[in-house]
Symmetry: C2
Subunit: 133 residues, 2 copies
Protein backbone atom coordinates (compact mmCIF):
# COMPACT_ATOMS: atom_id res chain seq x y z
CA UNK A 1 0.00 0.00 0.00
CA UNK A 2 1.34 3.41 -0.90
CA UNK A 3 1.70 5.88 1.93
CA UNK A 4 -1.05 8.51 1.71
CA UNK A 5 -0.28 12.21 1.54
CA UNK A 6 -0.28 14.14 4.81
CA UNK A 7 -3.66 15.77 4.13
CA UNK A 8 -5.18 12.44 3.18
CA UNK A 9 -3.58 10.84 6.20
CA UNK A 10 -5.14 13.31 8.60
CA UNK A 11 -8.59 12.97 7.04
CA UNK A 12 -8.23 9.21 6.92
CA UNK A 13 -7.25 9.00 10.57
CA UNK A 14 -9.36 11.72 12.15
CA UNK A 15 -12.19 12.35 9.72
CA UNK A 16 -15.67 10.93 9.35
CA UNK A 17 -15.35 9.82 5.73
CA UNK A 18 -15.21 6.08 5.31
CA UNK A 19 -12.44 5.40 2.79
CA UNK A 20 -11.43 1.76 3.22
CA UNK A 21 -7.92 0.84 2.13
CA UNK A 22 -8.12 -2.52 0.42
CA UNK A 23 -4.75 -4.29 0.22
CA UNK A 24 -2.97 -5.46 -2.92
CA UNK A 25 -5.35 -8.43 -3.08
CA UNK A 26 -8.38 -6.16 -2.73
CA UNK A 27 -9.08 -7.20 0.85
CA UNK A 28 -9.66 -5.71 4.27
CA UNK A 29 -8.93 -7.71 7.42
CA UNK A 30 -11.88 -8.27 9.73
CA UNK A 31 -11.57 -9.24 13.41
CA UNK A 32 -14.85 -10.61 14.68
CA UNK A 33 -15.78 -10.63 18.36
CA UNK A 34 -18.85 -11.71 20.30
CA UNK A 35 -20.87 -8.59 21.06
CA UNK A 36 -21.89 -10.04 24.43
CA UNK A 37 -18.54 -10.93 26.02
CA UNK A 38 -15.88 -9.69 23.60
CA UNK A 39 -14.34 -13.10 22.83
CA UNK A 40 -12.47 -13.19 19.52
CA UNK A 41 -14.42 -15.56 17.30
CA UNK A 42 -12.57 -15.42 13.98
CA UNK A 43 -10.37 -13.37 11.70
CA UNK A 44 -11.47 -13.14 8.09
CA UNK A 45 -11.29 -10.91 5.02
CA UNK A 46 -13.72 -8.76 3.06
CA UNK A 47 -13.50 -7.59 -0.50
CA UNK A 48 -15.54 -4.63 -1.69
CA UNK A 49 -18.61 -6.72 -2.44
CA UNK A 50 -18.53 -8.51 0.92
CA UNK A 51 -18.30 -5.15 2.65
CA UNK A 52 -21.16 -3.71 0.62
CA UNK A 53 -23.40 -6.68 1.39
CA UNK A 54 -22.49 -6.56 5.07
CA UNK A 55 -23.42 -2.89 5.27
CA UNK A 56 -26.61 -3.35 3.23
CA UNK A 57 -27.94 -6.36 5.15
CA UNK A 58 -26.40 -6.11 8.63
CA UNK A 59 -25.29 -9.75 8.23
CA UNK A 60 -21.55 -10.43 7.93
CA UNK A 61 -20.26 -11.41 4.50
CA UNK A 62 -16.62 -12.26 3.79
CA UNK A 63 -14.31 -13.23 0.98
CA UNK A 64 -12.98 -16.76 1.34
CA UNK A 65 -9.33 -16.74 0.33
CA UNK A 66 -9.16 -20.54 0.17
CA UNK A 67 -12.33 -20.97 -1.88
CA UNK A 68 -11.86 -17.69 -3.75
CA UNK A 69 -15.52 -16.84 -3.40
CA UNK A 70 -17.95 -14.59 -1.62
CA UNK A 71 -19.02 -16.15 1.64
CA UNK A 72 -22.16 -15.33 3.58
CA UNK A 73 -21.11 -16.65 6.95
CA UNK A 74 -23.70 -19.14 8.24
CA UNK A 75 -25.26 -19.87 4.88
CA UNK A 76 -24.82 -23.63 5.32
CA UNK A 77 -24.72 -23.85 9.14
CA UNK A 78 -27.42 -21.30 9.94
CA UNK A 79 -24.96 -19.53 12.23
CA UNK A 80 -25.34 -16.11 10.66
CA UNK A 81 -23.56 -13.18 12.24
CA UNK A 82 -25.69 -10.12 12.92
CA UNK A 83 -23.46 -7.08 13.08
CA UNK A 84 -24.15 -5.13 16.28
CA UNK A 85 -21.33 -2.63 15.80
CA UNK A 86 -18.71 -2.13 13.13
CA UNK A 87 -15.50 -0.20 13.74
CA UNK A 88 -12.63 0.78 11.49
CA UNK A 89 -9.02 1.29 12.51
CA UNK A 90 -6.84 4.38 12.20
CA UNK A 91 -5.57 3.73 8.67
CA UNK A 92 -8.82 2.11 7.52
CA UNK A 93 -7.42 -1.23 6.42
CA UNK A 94 -8.99 -3.32 9.18
CA UNK A 95 -12.49 -3.72 10.56
CA UNK A 96 -13.77 -4.83 13.94
CA UNK A 97 -17.16 -6.53 13.83
CA UNK A 98 -19.04 -7.08 17.07
CA UNK A 99 -21.61 -9.73 16.25
CA UNK A 100 -24.43 -11.85 17.58
CA UNK A 101 -24.20 -15.37 16.23
CA UNK A 102 -27.46 -17.10 15.29
CA UNK A 103 -28.22 -20.81 15.32
CA UNK A 104 -26.20 -22.96 17.72
CA UNK A 105 -23.67 -20.17 18.18
CA UNK A 106 -20.69 -21.89 16.56
CA UNK A 107 -18.41 -19.73 14.46
CA UNK A 108 -15.67 -22.23 13.66
CA UNK A 109 -16.28 -24.85 10.98
CA UNK A 110 -15.03 -27.42 13.54
CA UNK A 111 -18.21 -26.74 15.51
CA UNK A 112 -16.52 -24.68 18.20
CA UNK A 113 -17.69 -21.27 19.29
CA UNK A 114 -14.39 -19.62 18.34
CA UNK A 115 -11.69 -20.51 15.83
CA UNK A 116 -9.09 -19.67 18.48
CA UNK A 117 -9.38 -22.81 20.61
CA UNK A 118 -5.67 -23.54 20.96
CA UNK A 119 -3.04 -21.78 23.02
CA UNK A 120 0.54 -21.57 21.78
CA UNK A 121 3.02 -22.46 24.50
CA UNK A 122 6.53 -21.35 23.68
CA UNK A 123 8.37 -21.30 26.97
CA UNK A 124 11.85 -22.52 26.21
CA UNK A 125 11.73 -25.39 23.73
CA UNK A 126 9.77 -25.98 20.54
CA UNK A 127 6.40 -24.18 20.41
CA UNK A 128 3.43 -26.50 21.03
CA UNK A 129 -0.30 -26.04 20.84
CA UNK A 130 -2.58 -26.82 23.74
CA UNK A 131 -6.36 -26.99 23.56
CA UNK A 132 -7.98 -24.31 25.71
CA UNK A 133 -10.42 -25.22 28.51
CA UNK B 1 -2.85 -20.72 -0.17
CA UNK B 2 -3.18 -24.26 -1.43
CA UNK B 3 -5.72 -26.41 0.33
CA UNK B 4 -3.98 -28.93 2.59
CA UNK B 5 -4.55 -32.68 2.26
CA UNK B 6 -7.18 -34.22 4.52
CA UNK B 7 -4.57 -35.77 6.83
CA UNK B 8 -2.70 -32.50 7.07
CA UNK B 9 -5.96 -30.66 7.59
CA UNK B 10 -6.94 -32.80 10.55
CA UNK B 11 -3.52 -32.46 12.19
CA UNK B 12 -3.47 -28.75 11.47
CA UNK B 13 -6.90 -28.21 12.99
CA UNK B 14 -6.91 -30.66 15.88
CA UNK B 15 -3.25 -31.40 16.60
CA UNK B 16 -0.69 -29.86 18.88
CA UNK B 17 1.95 -29.12 16.25
CA UNK B 18 2.38 -25.46 15.53
CA UNK B 19 2.59 -25.15 11.73
CA UNK B 20 1.78 -21.55 10.87
CA UNK B 21 0.43 -20.89 7.39
CA UNK B 22 2.03 -17.71 6.14
CA UNK B 23 0.13 -16.14 3.25
CA UNK B 24 1.47 -15.37 -0.22
CA UNK B 25 3.25 -12.31 1.22
CA UNK B 26 4.81 -14.40 4.00
CA UNK B 27 2.53 -12.99 6.68
CA UNK B 28 0.18 -14.10 9.43
CA UNK B 29 -2.60 -11.84 10.65
CA UNK B 30 -2.49 -10.92 14.34
CA UNK B 31 -5.46 -9.61 16.31
CA UNK B 32 -4.30 -7.95 19.51
CA UNK B 33 -6.54 -7.53 22.54
CA UNK B 34 -6.05 -6.13 26.00
CA UNK B 35 -5.48 -9.06 28.36
CA UNK B 36 -7.36 -7.24 31.11
CA UNK B 37 -10.67 -6.37 29.45
CA UNK B 38 -10.55 -7.94 25.98
CA UNK B 39 -10.78 -4.72 23.99
CA UNK B 40 -9.43 -5.02 20.46
CA UNK B 41 -6.35 -2.80 20.33
CA UNK B 42 -4.99 -3.35 16.83
CA UNK B 43 -4.72 -5.71 13.89
CA UNK B 44 -1.25 -6.26 12.50
CA UNK B 45 0.89 -8.78 10.64
CA UNK B 46 3.85 -10.99 11.48
CA UNK B 47 6.40 -12.53 9.19
CA UNK B 48 8.48 -15.49 10.30
CA UNK B 49 11.12 -13.34 12.00
CA UNK B 50 8.56 -11.23 13.88
CA UNK B 51 6.91 -14.41 15.12
CA UNK B 52 10.24 -15.90 16.17
CA UNK B 53 11.20 -12.77 18.10
CA UNK B 54 7.78 -12.58 19.73
CA UNK B 55 8.06 -16.16 20.95
CA UNK B 56 11.66 -15.75 22.07
CA UNK B 57 11.17 -12.51 24.00
CA UNK B 58 7.50 -12.47 25.03
CA UNK B 59 7.27 -8.96 23.57
CA UNK B 60 5.15 -8.49 20.42
CA UNK B 61 7.02 -7.91 17.18
CA UNK B 62 5.30 -7.31 13.84
CA UNK B 63 6.03 -6.73 10.19
CA UNK B 64 5.09 -3.26 9.05
CA UNK B 65 3.54 -3.56 5.61
CA UNK B 66 3.72 0.20 4.99
CA UNK B 67 7.34 0.58 6.10
CA UNK B 68 8.33 -2.88 4.88
CA UNK B 69 10.37 -3.52 8.00
CA UNK B 70 10.43 -5.46 11.22
CA UNK B 71 8.67 -3.55 13.95
CA UNK B 72 9.13 -4.02 17.65
CA UNK B 73 5.92 -2.42 18.86
CA UNK B 74 6.69 0.30 21.42
CA UNK B 75 10.32 0.78 20.43
CA UNK B 76 9.84 4.51 19.99
CA UNK B 77 6.86 5.11 22.31
CA UNK B 78 7.83 2.79 25.14
CA UNK B 79 4.44 1.14 24.86
CA UNK B 80 5.73 -2.39 24.50
CA UNK B 81 3.23 -5.24 24.42
CA UNK B 82 3.92 -8.10 26.80
CA UNK B 83 2.23 -11.22 25.48
CA UNK B 84 0.12 -12.80 28.22
CA UNK B 85 -1.42 -15.46 25.98
CA UNK B 86 -1.05 -16.36 22.34
CA UNK B 87 -3.65 -18.37 20.45
CA UNK B 88 -3.78 -19.69 16.91
CA UNK B 89 -6.89 -20.28 14.83
CA UNK B 90 -8.18 -23.49 13.26
CA UNK B 91 -6.24 -23.25 9.99
CA UNK B 92 -3.22 -21.60 11.61
CA UNK B 93 -3.09 -18.45 9.52
CA UNK B 94 -4.13 -16.03 12.24
CA UNK B 95 -2.95 -15.32 15.77
CA UNK B 96 -4.68 -13.83 18.77
CA UNK B 97 -2.38 -11.98 21.16
CA UNK B 98 -3.65 -11.03 24.58
CA UNK B 99 -1.26 -8.35 25.78
CA UNK B 100 -0.38 -5.99 28.58
CA UNK B 101 0.67 -2.63 27.21
CA UNK B 102 3.56 -0.87 28.95
CA UNK B 103 4.20 2.87 29.17
CA UNK B 104 1.15 5.13 28.93
CA UNK B 105 -0.93 2.29 27.55
CA UNK B 106 -1.52 3.70 24.08
CA UNK B 107 -1.45 1.25 21.21
CA UNK B 108 -2.45 3.53 18.35
CA UNK B 109 0.13 5.90 16.86
CA UNK B 110 -2.51 8.64 17.25
CA UNK B 111 -2.05 8.32 21.01
CA UNK B 112 -5.27 6.45 21.62
CA UNK B 113 -5.55 3.22 23.54
CA UNK B 114 -6.99 1.34 20.56
CA UNK B 115 -6.72 1.84 16.81
CA UNK B 116 -10.46 1.14 16.56
CA UNK B 117 -11.77 4.48 17.82
CA UNK B 118 -14.38 5.08 15.11
CA UNK B 119 -17.71 3.41 14.56
CA UNK B 120 -19.04 2.92 11.05
CA UNK B 121 -22.68 3.94 10.75
CA UNK B 122 -24.32 2.58 7.64
CA UNK B 123 -28.03 2.80 8.27
CA UNK B 124 -29.59 3.73 4.99
CA UNK B 125 -27.48 6.36 3.28
CA UNK B 126 -23.77 6.73 2.72
CA UNK B 127 -21.59 5.09 5.40
CA UNK B 128 -20.09 7.59 7.85
CA UNK B 129 -17.59 7.31 10.65
CA UNK B 130 -18.34 8.48 14.17
CA UNK B 131 -15.79 8.80 16.95
CA UNK B 132 -16.55 6.42 19.82
CA UNK B 133 -17.13 7.71 23.35
Amino acid sequence: MNPPTEANKSEREEGTTFAPRFDASGLLTAAVTDAADGALLMVAHMNEEALRLTLATGIAHYWSRSRKSLWKKGETSGNFQRVVELRVDCDQDALWLKVEVAGDGATCHTGRRSCFYRILDADGTEPRLRHAE
